[in-house]
């Protein structure tokens, strides 16, 4: 009767089984240090230009849009404040996570997916390694360390973008006032929120990407399907989770 639910339930169950194994393996040797380093390079260094550029322009565009409204209320001096809050609490983590999801969740799904369809994953198990440990855990560790770093960089670049537009292009405020109002706008809960989010998103991106990769069936076509799903599902979860985490922090205050 409930046959149509069988697929999705099995999928979720497999996701949590894989996640559990990958997380437990963080604390167990052997650790594949080379694989972790390689993944950190791919995720962190590889995404850096993208993050620098988008961070800069996001901060700029926020300032641009806010300048009119702030002018109306005669509050253009507060532009640093607004940019800091929107970026650090919300846009920085979400945009960075979405970009990394697009870039790396897809990369993981397609790489692991091709390994699955060419039976490399089977070979790994047959030859004495746990694919969850060798493939998933390094990607999880690498994403969990690099995404917060990328988010901080993106936040900072956003402020620089806001500064360029607000102080250099539009002369809304003085540089000193921009930076001090940005600095004062943030309290510890913002910083906490700005770091808990990327950490959570990192788990979502890495585990969803790897899960769809490992579940790939149906040849090269299946790899394409897995890649698309990984990006869509991880992006949706990033947006849904940012709401709940935000909600939690709003209620906390």
């Amino acid at each position: 009767m409930l046959d149509f639910l069988k697929g999705p339930i099995l999928n979720v169950q497999n996701f949590f089984l894989l996640s559990g194994r990958a997380i437990v393996n963080i604390f167990r040797s052997p650790h594949y240090a080379d694989d972790i380093a390689l993944q950190m390079d791919i995720i962190g260094v590889g995404s850096l230009p993208l993050i620098l550029l988008t961070g800069l322009f996001t901060g700029g565009v926020i300032t641009l849009q806010m300048s009119r409204a702030l002018n109306q209320y005669g509050a253009s001096g507060q532009v640093g404040n607004i940019v800091a809050i929107t970026l650090v609490r919300e846009l920085g983590p979400v945009l960075t996570a979405l970009l990394v999801a697009g870039r790396n969740a897809s990369g993981m799904a397609s790489e692991l997916g091709s390994m699955k369809v060419t039976e490399q994953i089977d070979a790994m198990r047959a030859l004495g390694t746990d694919p969850a440990k060798k493939l998933v855990t390094p990607r999880l560790i690498a994403t969990a360390t690099m995404l917060p770093v990328l988010t901080v960089i993106s936040d900072f670049m956003g402020l620089v973008g806001g500064y360029i537009v607000g102080c250099v292009m539009l002369s809304l405020t003085t540089p000193t006032q921009f930076w001090s109002s940005a600095y004062q706008a943030l309290d510890y809960s913002d910083i906490a929120q700005g770091l808990i989010k990327p950490l959570t998103f990192a788990f979502v991106i890495a585990l969803v990407g790897c899960h769809y990769g490992m579940e790939t069936t149906g040849g090269t076509q299946g790899v394409g399907r897995a890649t698309t799903r990984a990006v869509v599902v991880s992006s949706v979860w990033v947006i849904v989770l940012t709401f709940f985490i935000g909600n939690f922090f709003v209620n906390l205050n």
Binding site: G7, V117, T118, E119, Q120, D122, A123, M124, R125, A126, L127, G128, T129
Partner: protein
């Protein structure tokens, strides 16, 4: 050898494997005794690959049991299953070579990662070289799989399967997608391995020639050539035919060739003509 000959390397009892809505294996019973050669034939999608992977414990059967070297694989803990797997070697249909590693690293992989394989660090390279010499690819150590041809990759796969000197070797469609000459080279290697180390061999294929070769030819170490054996009984080769997940035939080459079953006889036609 006769006492050893009675021992069972692999036994499947009532094994059923299902995926979503397809039944890949249905109540399969199979016994492979040590030193024996088993040839499994079947059309595409008949379940050959699933059968081999189930035998290796990579797929858990939905019903029935798999016995490896006399132990129930379903009841073993992971460590114990890994130990049994280290006594088996497999050549995957899609190769399964790690394309991020060199040929040397690929062949060394089971030596370095299978915990029950005792291999001193300084022994690894000589054994890798030996295995690659066996498949006549001693010069490719530094290459990566994508630089090799399909036939060469298949041979590297064989080298990786035999490097641990397993007791039971599983070959999944070793000649699929190869030209006849390369296919013969591959089959000759399989016969050679069987002859030199008396390995129990389980071969999945859709070419009758492959099974025919294993049933009637043996590798002559002196000449380095395959030579026909007058009566193939000495080679202990059995044939099994899979049809949509069910074993529909089991017997000797003679019985296979005499079968009147429409599906079964299709697999011998290729050679009779």
């Amino acid at each position: 050898m006769s006492s050893q000959g009675q021992r069972v390397a692999l036994r499947l009892e009532g094994v059923t494997v299902e995926f979503d809505d397809t039944v890949a294996l249905e109540n399969v019973n199979l016994e492979v005794r040590q030193g024996e050669t088993c040839v499994i034939q079947g059309a595409a999608g008949s379940g050959k690959t699933v059968l081999l992977k189930t035998a290796l414990g990579l797929i858990r059967p939905d019903a029935g049991r798999v016995e490896l070297f006399g132990l129930d694989a379903g009841k073993l803990r992971r460590r114990e299953l890994e130990e049994l797997r280290a006594r088996m070697g497999i050549l995957f249909q899609e190769g399964g070579l790690f394309d991020s590693m060199t040929i040397e690293e690929n062949v060394a992989y089971p030596l370095l990662n299978q915990k029950s394989v005792k291999c001193a660090p300084e022994e690894v390279l000589p054994r890798v070289k030996e295995a690659l010499e066996f498949v006549e690819l001693g010069h490719t150590l530094e290459k990566v799989p994508s630089e090799l041809s399909g036939g060469m990759r298949r041979r590297v796969g064989i080298a990786r399967a035999i490097v641990t000197q397993p007791e039971l070797l599983l070959y999944d469609s070793p000649t699929a997608g190869l030209d006849p000459i390369t296919a013969n080279t591959i089959m000759a290697l399989i016969a050679k391995e069987r002859e030199i180390r008396q390995t129990t061999t389980l071969l999945a294929t859709h070419r009758y020639q492959d099974g025919y070769l294993l049933a009637n030819y043996r590798y002559n170490g002196a000449t380095g050539q395959l030579e026909a054996v007058s009566n193939g009984t000495g080679l202990r080769t059995r044939f099994l035919i899979l049809d949509r997940g069910r074993l529909v035939f089991e017997g000797s080459q003679r019985e296979l060739e005499e079968s009147r079953d429409e599906y079964v006889s299709k697999f011998t036609k290729a050679l009779k003509q």
